[in-house]
Amino acid sequence: MSVPTMTANALTADEPVQFYDLDEHAHPEGHSTMLGFWIYLMSDCLIFAILFACYAVLGGSYAAGPSPKDLFDLKLIALNTAMLLFSSITYGFAVLQMQQGKVKGVQLWLAVTALFGLAFLGIELYEFHHLIEIGAGPQRSAFLSSFFTLVGTHGLHVTFGIVWLVTLMFQLSKHGLIAANKRRVMCLSMFWHFLDVVWIGVFTFVYLMGVLR
């Protein structure tokens, strides 16, 4: 007894078998880098989602210690947010300079971006130092543990973003705007703007909602 598909095959058996995707495609270097990097960012997004979930669960467990209202200085956070937002648009200017093929312009704006990133990190470290100084370190309560983990992980990402920025500036001065460097500029652009997206979640959910609580 034959299955219908077998019959169909039998009917066309004298014709050569055809596969539709037989030819090898060209895979030039880096043609899938952008998508691959995007998928990396999505996996990074999952890391932050887990940390946000931890904070959401533990954020109210003060262990009779200080609450967000006692600790967070919103003016400082507003300044920090501004630094990151400025660094986003200056990175945008670097990308625009790259599209016009100006190496010096790209390097200049990357340097400005790195400075804003450093300002952000400096303010964040100042905040962390202050919190630990007054006894509100990560070991004080579950709220503070999850807070330091979430915000610290973001800060660590920014740190590595700055390391990458500096690396890229050296690569640009050595090789100029070759295809590989353009690709790197665009990948770091995604990384940098992605960090700003995560920061939107941090300042809204951790700081602003924390003070509202």
Partner: protein, 128 residues
């Protein structure tokens, strides 16, 4: 490297999103507005805490979309739609993870037996 120089040329032009000054400026201005209003709302508190919370969460979602569109150049067609597909998949996973964690842990908290040995553990939910 390739036998067909024309095809090689086509493929060497790696697909990159085209950015424009207009995109960055519009995105930046929108972001500033969408950041300033939540900070102002929380710092001056003209509304109730519940309404303020709902509004700033809404603003955050809008600002994330603004960043995606104007800074990350997200379009449905980018990378043949695969960027958007992976983004939608990530969002689904994130929503399940966040909602699920909060739901489960909330019930765990409310169903927890009170523990008289550690008075500090009860401070979480209730204000005396």
């Amino acid at each position: 490297m390739s036998a067909d120089p024309h095809a090689a040329h086509d493929h060497n032009e790696i697909e990159m999103p085209h950015a424009s000054m207009r995109d960055y400026v519009v995105g930046f201005v929108l972001s500033v507005i969408l950041t300033a209003i939540p900070f102002w709302l929380v710092m001056t508190m003209p509304l109730s805490a519940g309404a303020t919370g709902a509004i700033i969460m809404g603003f955050a979602v809008v600002q994330i979309v603004v960043h995606m569109v104007f800074f990350l150049h997200m379009t449905p067609k980018a990378e043949g739609g695969w960027s958007l597909t992976s983004l939608v998949f990530t969002i689904i996973v994130v929503v399940i993870m966040l909602a699920g964690s909060l739901w489960v842990m909330h019930h765990l908290n409310t169903n927890m037996m009170p523990m008289p040995h550690e008075p500090t553990s009860q401070v979480t939910g209730q204000v005396p």
